[in-house]
């Protein structure tokens, strides 16, 4: 059974960027990455992936249609145990607080520090194992 990470961002090239950053991991099958270009699509994906295999959701905040912050409570309602890490250009205190109140597991600033993200994923993988 595969381990899934869902990435939500309205920028299409995020997928290609992530796939290359985690090329080795993806190749070796440590985890599978799913990409959603909008929050509603992400919600559908999250519902579809069975519980123990989905270990992390990474989501942008500022997106048209539905923002990451609007999506967050919906995800938590659906899958309360899955950690959600928000990614934003604005890592200010108010956002940090709000994100924590809404039940996010963390906040990563943009541009993404991939070594930090890799460590984050590694620790989630260990927890899941």
């Amino acid at each position: 059974m595969s381990t899934y990470i869902v990435v939500v961002d309205d920028e299409p090239d995020v997928e290609s960027m992530f796939r290359q950053q985690f090329r080795r991991e993806l190749k070796s099958g440590r985890f599978v990455m799913e990409f959603a270009l909008s929050a509603p699509t992400a919600l559908e994906r999250v519902k579809a992936i069975p519980d123990p295999s989905l270990i992390l959701i990474l989501s942008d905040i500022n997106m048209p249609e539905m923002t990451g912050l609007e999506m967050l409570p919906k995800v938590k309602a659906e899958r309360p145990n899955i950690p959600v890490i928000m990614i934003t250009a604005y890592g200010d205190e108010a956002t940090r607080k709000k994100v924590a109140e809404l039940g996010a597991a963390g906040l990563l600033p943009k541009p993404i520090d991939f070594s930090l993200l890799r460590r984050e994923i590694d620790s989630r993988l260990e927890q899941a194992a």
């Binding site: 048209p64 609007e70 205190e93 956002t95 541009p111």
Partner: protein, 523 residues
């Protein structure tokens, strides 16, 4: 002993009362007697002659008055010519061979015009002259009416120390002297003087006539004063109007700069996204090149797998370079867009996708607000009609208008949150588009403080602002209104509930702007 006028007992009594009480050297008269005498039937011929003379005098007076009025109306704001004609007519009609007109400013008399004054005397009266207590003019200053001095020499002889009667006699050769004040409502504007070289009293009729001319001079002075004031006020007003225009231009510029500042912050953020991709894909490519070297040197790989690996890396590298170029171009176009905004004028009229335009404005406003104030937070809701389609418009201007509406919404919603301290309250701004067929509708709604009913009519007025001094120019909504209504022939309405929400509804026609207007004309 006393010298009297020839005009009856009434005047005589008055003159005695006013002037002769002090020694009888001067005679004061009032121009109220008509000089009518009783006459017998035998005096018929004399009577006719007298009537003829009176008629002639009346005619001359009327002509003089008419001429003075003509000069007054022909010389607006100039007293010189008016004084000149008044003095000339007054002297001619009342038999004064020489004299002067001296305006009074509340302190000094100054010679304005004169007739036939001996030069030394003209020099003496030129002024500024403040009459001493013994100067006969001081009585006029104190409020006396027409003042006649029958014999100035007599006065000078009686009081040898007083300079004026002496100078008048010695330098001016004056014997009989008449002062007629220019006075209105107890304010003295000046005096007309009439001199005779011999002792010969002015008749009451002559004095009355002089008084009439003096009154006309007062009217002329008043007119001139009013005219000067009017001119001064007009000058002041046109100056403040100019100042106002300059200030207005500056404010419009400030408003444009403010929205440019907002744009710049938003745009800077927009540039960061493609720049991140450029950086990321470049760094990834460097790693891929390293990986390629590894693949070449890996002895464990057979030729097929090596080729397969290298092909894969080459494809990725090619893709990455495409992405670097693509995001570089994206950053470039954002910068170009920013330059468009900073440029004068309205840019080009073109068909633009309404949803993209609203989305872009939302992003610019949001990132601008975030950049301006790091704690700023608001939930953006987009309710875009997928069929909204394209509209012919000046994209820059409509973006500017939308930015104003959106940032006002941000301000109102944030203000409400700050005011009610309700932790539950969440500021929300929604942008809605709707396809109305031949036109489109855009709604910008915030759940902020709302607009009180009494201010609702004023919000589009230039310079109207509810923001604290220095925070708003009061031009945002007025410029927005101009852009939507005047430039684009659209409409803008506001629906609001104080303490609840404000919604601006903008409608634009899809086409037809090009026929009415030359592109970029409206500036």
């Amino acid at each position: 002993m006393a010298r009297t006028s020839k005009t009856g007992k009434k005047t005589k009594a008055k003159a005695r009362k006013a002037g002769q009480a002090k020694g009888g050297k001067t005679t004061k008269t009032k121009g109220d007697a008509t000089g009518r005498r009783t006459h017998s039937a035998a005096d018929q011929e004399t009577e006719v002659t007298r009537l003829k003379r009176e008629l002639k005098e009346a005619l001359e007076q009327q002509e003089a008055t008419a001429e003075i009025l003509r000069v007054i109306s022909a010389s607006p704001g100039e007293l010189g010519p008016i004084f000149d004609v008044i003095l000339r007519k007054a002297h001619d009609l009342c038999g004064a061979p020489f004299g002067a007109l001296l305006p009074y400013d509340g302190e000094f008399f100054r010679l304005a015009v004169q007739r036939n004054l001996p030069p030394a005397w003209a020099e003496w009266v030129r002024g500024p002259l403040r009459p001493g207590p013994k100067h006969p003019l001081s009585r006029v200053v104190k409020g006396e009416g027409p003042l006649q001095i029958a014999d100035l020499r007599e006065l000078a002889d009686r009081d040898p120390d007083a300079p004026m009667p002496r100078a008048g006699v010695d330098l001016g050769g004056i014997r009989t002297l008449l002062y007629v004040p220019l006075r209105k409502d107890d304010v003295l504007f000046g005096v007309i003087t009439a001199y005779r070289k011999e002792v010969s009293l002015f008749t009451n009729q002559q004095i009355a006539l002089l008084q009439t001319f003096a009154d006309q001079a007062v009217i002329a002075i008043e007119n001139t004063r009013l005219l000067t004031e009017l001119r001064q006020r007009t000058n002041d007003l046109s100056k403040s109007l100019n100042d106002l225009r300059t200030a207005q231009d500056r404010l419009v510029q400030t408003q444009k700069l403010a929205s440019l500042g907002q744009l710049t912050a938003g745009i800077a953020h927009e540039i960061k996204n493609p720049l991140n991709f450029v950086n990321n894909f470049s760094a990834l490519s460097a790693e891929l090149v390293d990986e390629m070297t590894d693949v070449f040197q890996d002895p464990a790989l057979d030729e097929d797998s090596r080729r397969k690996e290298l092909d894969e890396i080459r494809e990725l590298l090619k893709g990455n370079l495409d992405k670097v170029v693509q995001h570089g171009k994206r950053a470039d176009s954002i910068v170009k867009n920013m330059l468009l905004h900073s440029r004068e004028g309205s840019g080009e009229l073109r068909a633009a996708d309404i949803n993209s335009l609203v989305e872009e404005s939302l992003n610019l406003a949001y990132h601008g607000a975030r950049a301006e104030k790091s704690g700023f937070n608001i939930t953006l809701q987009r309710k875009f009609d997928a069929s909204a389609g394209e509209v012919e418009l000046f994209p820059q201007e409509i973006t500017r208008a939308l930015l104003n509406l959106i940032s006002n919404g941000f301000y109102a919603a944030t203000k409400r949150k700050a005011e009610n301290r309700d932790a539950e309250f969440e500021p929300i701004l929604s942008a809605t588009t709707r396809n109305l067929g031949a036109s489109i509708e855009m709604r910008i709604r915030d759940n902020g403080t709302g607009i009180p009913a009494e201010l609702k009519d004023k919000i589009f007025n230039p310079f109207f602002t509810t923001k604290p001094a220095g925070e708003g120019t009061g031009l945002g909504l007025s410029m927005t209104h101009d852009i939507i209504v005047k430039q684009h022939g659209g409409s803008i309405d506001v629906v609001t509930e104080p303490g609840e929400f404000t919604e601006f509804i903008v409608t634009l026609r899809r086409k037809g702007l090009a026929e009415q207007k030359n592109p970029g004309e409206n500036k």
